[in-house]
Structure formats: C-alpha cells, structure tokens
C-alpha cells in the first residue's frame, strides 16, 4: 500500500514536471497568460475608468471572469528552476531572488486570486464604482509581486 502511494506520488510529480515542460515552454506559457491577462485588464480599465460611457456590463463580466480564471490557475508551476534565465516569447523577466522568496510569492499569488475572484463578483453586480475600487485592489496585488521578483528594463 505504502509503495503504491509512493509510486503514485512519484508518478504525479513526474507528470507535473512533464506538464510544466522545458524551460522555454514554461516561460512561454506564463508570458502568454500574463499577456492575455493584461488584455482583459485593459478592457476593464477602459470601461470603468478611462471611458465609462463605453461601459458594457457583459463585456466587463467576461473580462473579469478571464482574470479570475488566470489568477486561480496554478501559474507558479511555470516558475521552475532555470526559468529566470531562459527565453519564451521574449527573455524571462524573473529575478533569481524568486527562488528564495517562493513562500512570500505564493501568498501574494493567493491574494491576487482572491482579489480577482472578488472582482468577478462585483462585475456581476454591475456597480461601476465598486468595480473600479476592486480593480485597484487586483492591481495592487499585481504590483506587490512585480516589485519583488520582476526585472525592470
């Protein structure tokens, strides 16, 4: 029994590594996620902040849903060893410090997921002022991570 569990654990660890793939694939996947995240972020910002006259409840809900889904996805699995060096669609912007700060970053990532889920909830209610406020909280979570582990150009 114990052997079976151990074997199962080893197998799932191996599968996880296989899913994460080579360094370039991990970087590509996470860069893609953040690019799409950013596209949706800008959709919301534009409709609740810069051009409120273009506010479209359904589109904001759709964008917030995508943001919440990306925030909830296990993106940190794409931060394997060596992914501070490689190139995906463009060179990795991950600081090597990340590997010493993983616990802290995991907490920020959890906050990010919670705030994004809350954003999805207020988007469904459709009060622009509430969406704007919650959107700011998501942005603050983004920033706290960028400040820690993102290389500046």
């Amino acid at each position: 029994m114990k052997i079976k569990v151990a074997l199962g654990l080893m197998l799932s660890a191996a599968t996880l590594a296989a899913f994460a793939g080579p360094v370039e694939e991990q970087i590509k996947a996470r860069q893609s996620a953040y690019a799409f995240l950013g596209w949706n972020t800008h959709l919301i910002k534009s409709q609740v902040s810069d051009h409120p006259e273009t506010y479209n409840k359904e589109k904001v809900i759709a964008a917030a849903t995508v943001m919440a889904a990306i925030a909830k996805a296990p993106l940190l699995d794409l931060y394997g060893p060596g992914t501070d060096q490689g190139t995906g669609w463009k060179p990795s912007h991950l600081k090597a410090d990340y590997f010493q700060k993983q616990d802290e970053i995991r907490q920020i990532n959890d906050t990010f997921a919670q705030e994004a889920a809350a954003l999805q909830a207020v988007a469904t209610q459709g009060e622009i002022a509430d969406i704007k406020t919650q959107f700011g909280k998501v942005g603050a979570a983004c920033k706290s991570c960028h400040d820690q582990i993102r290389v500046r150009d």
Binding site: G38, T41, K45, F135, K137, G139, C142, K143, H146, D153
Partner: protein, 214 residues
C-alpha cells in the same frame, strides 16, 4: 541692526510648496499603486506644469527667481567655500542642489509621460513610443527614485544644518518671502511681481499640461 528684505516672490513660494505637495503625493501614490496609480499620473502632470512654470519664471521672473541670478559658477563656489559669499538669493551650493533637484524631477516627468506599469497604467504619451522603449523609460523612471530621495534628504538636511549650526532660518523666508540682513549688507528690495509676466508663465505651464493630454 537687522532689516527684512523681500527675496522670494509669491509665485515662487507658491510654486515651491505646490511642488512639495505634488511630489510627495506622487511618491506615495506611486509606491502604493492600485487605485492610486491614476493619482500618480495626475500629480505627475501637475509636476510637469509646475516645472514648466518655474522654467519660464527663471527667465522672466523677479531678480532672485532668475537662473542667471543664482547659476553656480566655479568662482562663486570657491568664494562660498571660503565663506566669502555675500549674495542674497540661493547660495552657490544651494543653487547646485536646486538645479540637481529640478533636473531629476524633469527626468521623472519626461520618462513618466511615456511610462507604463505593466498592469493597467500608461503615461499620457505612451502611445507615441513602442512598448520596448516605454518599458526602458519606465525602468529609468523608477531608477530616478533614489537620486530624488537623496537630493530631497540633502535639501532638508541642509536647511536643518543652517538652522541648528549656522543659526540661519531658511524655512521662514520660503513662507513669508523675507530674509533677515544686517543693515549694512542688505540688498536693495526687488521689484514686485509683474501680473502680465506671471500670467504669461502660467499660460505656458497650462498649455504644456494641456498638450500632453491630446
């Protein structure tokens, strides 16, 4: 026998204190991010307007506001170090600090216009450059933070040093405009503020802030 002489004109003092508020607010909102990021942008635009005003005022304002009056020269610095400097406005070392501070703030404003935070904020002129250049300028924007903090620290520290060690109050003159002089050494009072010149400087500043929004 001491006399008080008007040195700092009221637009210059107003500029100074508005700049303190704008830069402090921009620093805090920039650090906190989130919903305050838009305020960071607005305060940056205000800082642009203030700097443009100061630039114009430095050429057409009253005597002690003019760059030509306090532009630091080597001989000025030498006499200041020896303790022989007897001017009334910015002393040569202070003038160096003032110009350095204005330069760093100018750098922050210009890079900020093109910057982005890779979250949801873009400076008002972001669309004029490609993303790679904006990313670089954003990095240089952030890297100017330390020089700014050091210069502000130097500025405030020097005022404290003058107050405590040299027993010279530099703070009150920036509030009232008047400095104390020994009667024999007192400079002639400057001419008052010319309203047309003030309005012209203000107009240029407003135009600059308006221009970046379109």
């Amino acid at each position: 026998m001491n006399v008080k002489v008007q040195i700092w004109d009221w637009p210059l003092r107003l500029f100074h204190w508005l700049l303190v508020l704008a830069v402090t607010g921009a620093y805090v909102s920039g650090e906190l991010g989130g919903s305050l990021t838009d305020w960071h942008g607005r305060l940056g635009s205000l800082t642009l307007g203030l700097l443009v005003f100061r630039l114009v005022w430095g050429f057409i304002g009253p005597k002690y506001a003019r760059f030509a009056n306090f532009f630091p020269t080597l001989s000025g610095l030498k006499s200041y170090i020896k303790g022989d400097w007897r001017g009334a406005g910015h002393n040569p070392a202070g003038a160096l600090a003032v110009l350095a501070l204005l330069t760093v703030l100018g750098w922050l404003v210009v890079t900020g216009l093109f910057a982005n935070d890779d979250i949801a904020f873009e400076g008002p002129l972001f669309h004029l450059v490609d993303k790679d250049l904006s990313d670089k300028l954003s990095g240089w924007h952030k890297r100017a933070e330390l020089p700014l903090l050091l210069l502000v620290g130097l500025h405030v520290g020097a005022i404290g040093y003058y107050r405590l060690v040299k027993k010279v109050d530099l703070l009150r003159p920036m509030l009232t405009g008047e400095k104390q002089f020994i009667k024999a050494q007192a400079p002639r009072p400057m001419r008052g503020v010319s309203p047309p010149r003030f309005l012209f400087s203000l107009l240029i500043a407003v135009l600059a802030v308006w221009a970046i929004q379109i």
